[in-house]
């Protein structure tokens, strides 16, 4: 029984972390049709921002929840203004340019921080589930994921910003005709997407540590999640994370973590063969 509870928490954690690392990408992709291959590096920068801030004596909660998203969000806006905005509508070229950006950022962080893993110890200690122990930080990650998703839903559904964003997403020309300034919406969206990625990277930094090439580990998983989810940002991210997270964690439990990852990626390829438009191309079509 305790084992089942533990496994349930781990599956939930896998789903939550997958949703967290994907949602920033989902927003950028869903809104702007831009495939940001430097997404993994945004996560990495979030981790470094949190660690550097903590080492300067700032409270770890402040560093993770406030500083990391702000820093990476600003970087995102700079990237949008200097590179991405010249490439709207040229999807393949944006992929290539952001890939170049990703290599550049990896090189830059290697030059600054060195090619070693740095970490912060996870706060909160551990909790007991019957005969087992698990880190309380796991529960914190799950909580952050839930709050982030709920906040995105609220913003998209009930605020003016969300209305403008959804309108621009559906028909940018019509939105422009009604007085919205799409380039500004895009810049803000890209910044928000980057900020969420920074948050995710910082939240996961105590679990995995941070090193310059950590983005590679994230980027494939988050892409697969976004593409598996399909066009709808929220319901797509949630449904795809649930599916892939569960597969990953169960395969990990039965075999090894590496095989869990392979199972996730293989499942994703089969899913895309079956549902080329992603899960929300067929189900939950009216979701956000």
């Amino acid at each position: 029984m305790d084992l089942v509870a533990l496994l349930a928490i781990q599956v939930l954690y896998a789903i939550a972390s997958l949703a967290l690392i994907s949602v920033g990408l989902a927003i950028i992709f869903g809104m702007m049709r831009v495939i940001n291959l430097a997404h993994g590096e945004f996560l990495m920068l979030g981790g470094y921002a949190a660690i550097v801030a903590t080492s300067h004596g700032i409270s770890i909660w402040l560093a993770i929840l406030v500083i990391a998203p702000i820093v990476v969000g600003l970087i995102g806006i700079i990237v949008e203004r200097t590179i991405i905005r010249f490439l709207y509508g040229r999807m393949i070229d944006t992929m290539l340019a952001t890939w170049g950006l990703s290599l550049f950022l990896v090189g830059l962080t290697t030059a600054i921080f060195g090619n070693t893993t740095v970490g912060i110890s996870a706060p909160l200690g551990s909790i007991e589930i019957g005969a087992y122990r698990t880190s309380a930080y796991t529960l914190f990650v799950i909580a952050v994921a839930i709050v982030v998703l709920a906040a995105i839903f609220a913003v998209m559904r009930w605020t003016r910003l969300g209305l403008i964003a959804r309108g621009t997403m559906q028909n940018a020309n019509m939105a422009a005709a009604l007085g919205v300034n799409p380039p500004r919406v895009y810049a803000v969206t890209f910044g928000i997407g980057a900020a969420l990625s920074g948050l995710a990277g910082a939240v996961l930094a105590p679990v995995s540590g941070v090193f310059p090439t950590i983005g590679v580990a994230y980027v494939a998983k988050s892409f697969i999640t976004v593409i598996g989810g399909g066009a709808a940002i929220l319901s797509g991210t949630i449904s795809a994370s649930a599916l892939f997270g569960a597969i990953n964690q169960i395969a990990t439990f039965v075999t090894t973590p590496v095989f869990g990852e392979v199972a996730l990626l293989a499942a994703a390829i089969v899913l895309i063969r079956l549902l080329p438009q992603g899960i929300t191309g067929r189900f939950f079509r009216r979701g956000l």
């Binding site: 340019a97 890939w99 550049f104 990896v106 494939a220 990626l265 895309i272």
Partner: protein
């Protein structure tokens, strides 16, 4: 001048330069330079494989290094088990081609759009990297070959003349083999592109819907193109394993994939000579950058110059933003507009006379 004549002249020029390079280099260059050039030639074959499927087939494959690595690993493993290189060489071509065909079936018959295609190929490459990377223990072996995980497989036996185990090909022989293969690949691809198949392939790249309405099945053509590209990359992988006598999982890595794309992008999509030029140029640049490795100290400028990902990333961004067509087509356009400009000048000078 007649366009066809120009085309043949270009081909002849490539042939002459290529053969002269192949014959003369080992006579005049030091052995280490020959070694270095050999790997450039091998990588140029890899660049051609992507030039075919991306530049002409219109399929952006982020995972060309998957086929490359698969070829290298297949050769290494088969070589340890068989000991004679003919079958391993063939396997190193067939297996990646078959893998490309399988993957291509999922992607093209699933009608996945271009962008998802890039992501899927990227993912597959990562799967291979992760899987091979974690096979370090002695329990992972195929036949007598240990996979070695992140340590790689050292001491791979070299190629030998078909049928004769003892006649291993030496370093100079490797250079001839690699350069010869590059030339054969180049002219083979030119032939392929001039054939009916090649023309349909380019037609599909230009307008898939139209080609389909004309009765061609784009899925089958793309699949075939992709498989040929996979075979070529596998062959290059086999040569690469031979060159260093060593393979490790980094061969599947993202930076390897990135390099291949950068070669093609910098050289020029839709040409064959461009990617070869791009490949050799970038490799030379990487070597030159790596050579002035800082010997300790805090000389951060040298540190940045020696930092290959940083420079490659900048090159990639700069080319996408500023020279999206690549070097060779841009230079070609430039030459053409210069010619046209001069032609116009001549016409202007002639005009008043004609008016008289």
């Amino acid at each position: 001048m007649n366009e066809r004549l120009l085309n043949y002249l270009g081909l002849a020029l490539v042939a002459v330069i290529g053969i002269a390079f192949m014959v003369l280099t080992p006579r005049f260059a030091e052995l280490d330079a020959v070694l270095e050039l050999t790997v450039y030639m091998v990588m140029a074959i890899l660049a051609l494989s992507l030039a075919l499927i991306w530049g002409y087939g219109g399929i952006l494959c982020f995972g060309q290094s998957a086929f490359f690595g698969l070829g290298a690993y297949t050769y290494a493993i088969a070589m340890f088990n068989i000991g004679e290189s003919t079958i391993p060489l063939l396997l190193a071509i067939i297996l990646p081609a078959a893998f490309a065909a399988l993957l291509g079936y999922f992607m093209f018959y699933g009608r996945i759009s271009d962008v998802y295609l890039g992501v899927i190929t990227l993912t597959v490459t990562l799967i291979l990297f992760n899987s091979v990377n974690s096979t370090a223990g002695p329990e992972f072996h195929i036949g007598t070959a240990r996979l070695g995980g992140f340590n790689g497989i050292p001491g791979i036996p070299p190629l030998n003349w078909p049928g004769n185990k003892t006649a291993a090909i030496d370093l100079e022989g490797m250079f001839y083999l690699a350069t010869g293969s590059l030339l054969v690949t180049y002219f083979g691809l030119r032939l392929l592109l001039a054939s009916r198949f090649g023309r349909i392939m380019v037609g599909i790249r230009e307008n898939e819907r139209r080609a389909e309405l004309l009765g061609y099945d784009p899925r089958a053509y793309k699949l075939a193109t992709f498989a040929i590209g996979g075979a070529l990359a596998g062959f290059a992988g086999c040569l690469f394993a031979n060159w260093g006598n060593f393979v490790s999982p980094t061969i599947f890595g993202l930076s390897q994939s990135a390099q291949i794309i950068i070669w093609v992008l910098v050289g020029g999509r839709g040409t064959l000579i461009g990617p070869v030029v791009g490949c050799i140029g970038i490799q030379w640049l990487s070597t030159a950058l790596g050579a002035n490795q800082p010997s300790g100290g805090a000389d951060w400028w040298a540190k940045i110059l020696a930092n290959a990902p940083l420079i490659l990333g900048l090159i990639l961004i700069a080319f996408v933003l500023l020279v999206p067509k690549g070097l060779v087509p841009t230079l070609g356009d430039l030459a053409q507009s210069l010619l046209r400009f001069r032609g116009r000048q001549t016409a202007k000078r002639l005009e008043p006379e004609a008016a008289e």
